[in-house]
């Protein structure tokens, strides 16, 4: 197991390196010279040249790439073209919104999806089992921003229970309002996410219910539920865990949209603004940090999966 973790760690680092390369290439494919963005309107060619020198974009690509890797290794993400402030500082401020948002939504989605998904599979023949799968279908088909707007309409405009958007100026120093302003965004993501998770859980459980070993166990006299609990869940969990990492990363796209709907100062709105303004250091910083986070999640999910599925463990030696 330890060997596996070490190997997986090496892969993680390699992945990060490849991600850095992919990013470097991608951002240079984008049209427009970042130096133009830096100096703004009415700049003279000399000013643009000076900006290029400052950014190093007049250097050969190889040199640019090495200094880029050096900066990354020191975790120096540079300064924004537009705001002139440190990208890393800005990201850490923004993460304090996006990370709780994503994690809370993720946990809430799991809490909703796992029991309901199993129930929907076990009781697939009953009306409520059917109802549950219908509900999960509905959940998947609702666009995130549509759901967000709907929740705002009901809980903010009609019932006046929760704020319609924004984040308190003092952040978590104002805990009541900070939490209040997170409720609807978290709900929005969690509902959409739990719907698709529920389908995975249901499908995986159904698979296990139909499998030979469960039938064997039941033939040996174990009760239906007992057999499922003892042998089934563990098996059902394997494919579900494998999609968790993916789900978490799609949550990020969801967060971009949700932060837009609720005017939240998170990573998503930072990325979107960066794209609109061609603020390359900001785009690059957000992508690097979010890639890092998702790769870490994938790493943890793989190890968890290994723990859950002894067959894979054996094969890995």
């Amino acid at each position: 197991m330890l060997r596996y973790i070490l190997r997986r760690l090496v892969i993680l680092l390699l992945s990060l390196f490849i991600a850095a390369v992919v990013l470097f290439v991608l951002l240079r494919l984008l049209p427009g010279d970042p130096a133009n963005a830096l100096v703004g309107v009415g700049a003279t060619p000399e000013q643009i040249a000076a900006a290029q020198a400052q950014l190093g974009s007049d250097q050969p690509l190889g040199v640019q790439f090495l200094s880029y890797l050096g900066d990354l290794a020191r975790f120096d993400l540079g300064n924004s073209f537009v705001s002139r402030s440190s990208v890393l500082d800005e990201i850490s401020r923004r993460l304090s919104v996006t990370l709780p948002l994503t994690l809370a939504a993720f946990v809430l989605a799991l809490v909703i999806a796992i029991p309901l998904g199993i129930l929907a599979a076990v009781k697939a023949d009953r009306w409520y089992g059917l109802l549950l799968s219908v509900v999960s279908q509905v959940g998947i088909a609702v666009p995130v921003f549509w759901l967000g707007i709907l929740l705002v309409y009901e809980f903010s405009l009609n019932l006046r229970l929760l704020p319609s958007g924004g984040f308190p100026l003092r952040g978590y120093a104002d805990p009541g309002r900070a939490i209040e302003s997170m409720v609807l965004p978290v709900l929005t993501i969690a509902i959409v996410m739990s719907a698709s998770l529920m389908r995975y859980v249901r499908a995986a459980t159904l698979e296990v219910l139909g499998s030979d070993f469960l039938r064997t166990a039941r033939a040996l006299g174990e009760s239906h539920t007992g057999a499922l609990m003892r042998h089934g869940l563990r098996n059902a969990a394997v494919p579900v865990v494998s999609v968790l990492g993916i789900e978490l990363s799609t949550t990020f796209l969801g967060a971009v949209v949700v932060e837009q709907v609720f005017s939240l100062p998170g990573m998503g709105s930072m990325l979107l603004l960066g794209i609109q303004q061609r603020d390359y250091p900001n785009i690059q910083g957000v992508l690097i940090v979010s890639t890092l986070l998702v790769l870490l999640t994938g790493f943890l999910a793989d190890i968890l999966q290994r723990v859950l599925d002894p067959r894979l463990r054996k094969e890995a030696r």
Partner: protein, 509 residues
Amino acid sequence: MLSRTDMSFGAPLARGRAALATLTAVSALALSSAAAMAQDYDPQAVVNIGSLYEPQNLDNTQGAGQGINEAFNGNVYEGLFVLTDDGDVEPKLVDSYEISDDGLTYTFTLKDGVTFHSGEKMTSADVKSSIERVTAENSASSRKKTLTVIDSIETPDDKTVVVTLSAPSISLPYNLSYVWIVNDDAGDISASEDGTGPYTLQEWRRGSALAMVPFEDYWGEEPTNGGVMFQYFTDATAQNNALLTGAVDIITSVQSPDALSMFTDNPDFTVSEGASTTKELMAYNDRVAPFDNAQVRAALSRAVDKEKLLQAIWGDYGTLIGSFVPPTDPWYVDLNDVNAYDPESTKEMLAEAGYPDGFSFTLDTPDYDPHPVVAQFLQNELAKVDVDVKINIITANEWYTKIYKAHDFDATLQEHVNHRDIVFYGNPDFYWGYDNPEVTRLISESESAHSMEEQTEMLTEANKIIAEDAASMWLYLYPQIVVSTSNVSGYPLNGLNSQFFAYDIQKAD
């Protein structure tokens, strides 16, 4: 939103003339007793202002966008002069000033007892360094060009600033109203401030809000509220919702008439219409064929039913102006009849100009509302006269580089927010490349005019020529609408050049 970042390149000044004052009126829309009537207010109350224009940084010479003018002009920083909400240019940090007979030397005497938020006294050295901040090599200020007329700045003593010009400039005080007086020891002000205004910056949380509190040692009258918080939204619907739920007290500009219906029939809100200077236009690249031909431009202008467009975008709001000059500029004349809607004549004119079968062009369209909708309308209207429009959606940033700087386009859509910006047509190097020597002469001579009347006469003449030439296709004038809860009053209605003075706002309990 680039033109919104203030592109007024030397709008001439009409000092002392109350150009806008008479036209500024609380519109008939205001249902409740216009909030101006509110008697009691809470001097400690914090006013929450909803805005769509978050500044990118806090330094107006570093491409911070129009949001910084909204938040900081007159509130945190002050200039030697101020452009009031009524359109007057009045002395602010200047006590008095003299102009030499040749109009080339301005001697400013500064106000006494003005201190910066850091506690330092304001001196002539601060004024000199502040002007030089704007004209500096690395300044990205769009005001830079207007101040190149300044030859030298002397500071004979702490109270006196002598500015020498290379040519007379009737707009100098107007242009100086954009120059923040910043403490010369302040250093980098992209994330902090040191101004002389009635408010000091309390905190700025990027992507969310910016808070200001009254400055205790302010030299002038203290604000009638206990502070201001600008809350920033990325989307107009979210902003409207915040007003509806009481999270903000005022929204600085309304983007669509459809949102207004929620406020107009509700006694809890005041809807006010100010004087607008925001013009929607299709700018041709007048350098390139076929748009180098005035007849082609005039023909296209006749093919578009602007009334229908205005109705589609703004319902019953907004005005048609027929040129680039809004009714609030002294040189306004009604030019709606010049090249008015007459699609029949378009085809003949195009045939005469050598395009009997029409032509096709690409319309570079900024990706934010209302431009994509306007582009589709134009595409449809022009298709009827065999002119094929290809819509190319671009971001604000691409607009900057591709159109504003590289002049690489056929035609584009843009909104221009500033008042008195007809002067752009006098600059052949401006992005739309309109080059009529007569207009250039009129506009540049109006700058050295000796009187208001003379200046107005020349610019009226220029305005008429530009309209005859159909230099661009002027589509409509936006309405300027401010909505607030009915317990708030005293806010500016016109928001000229994106300013939003907060110190007179009163909030009742």
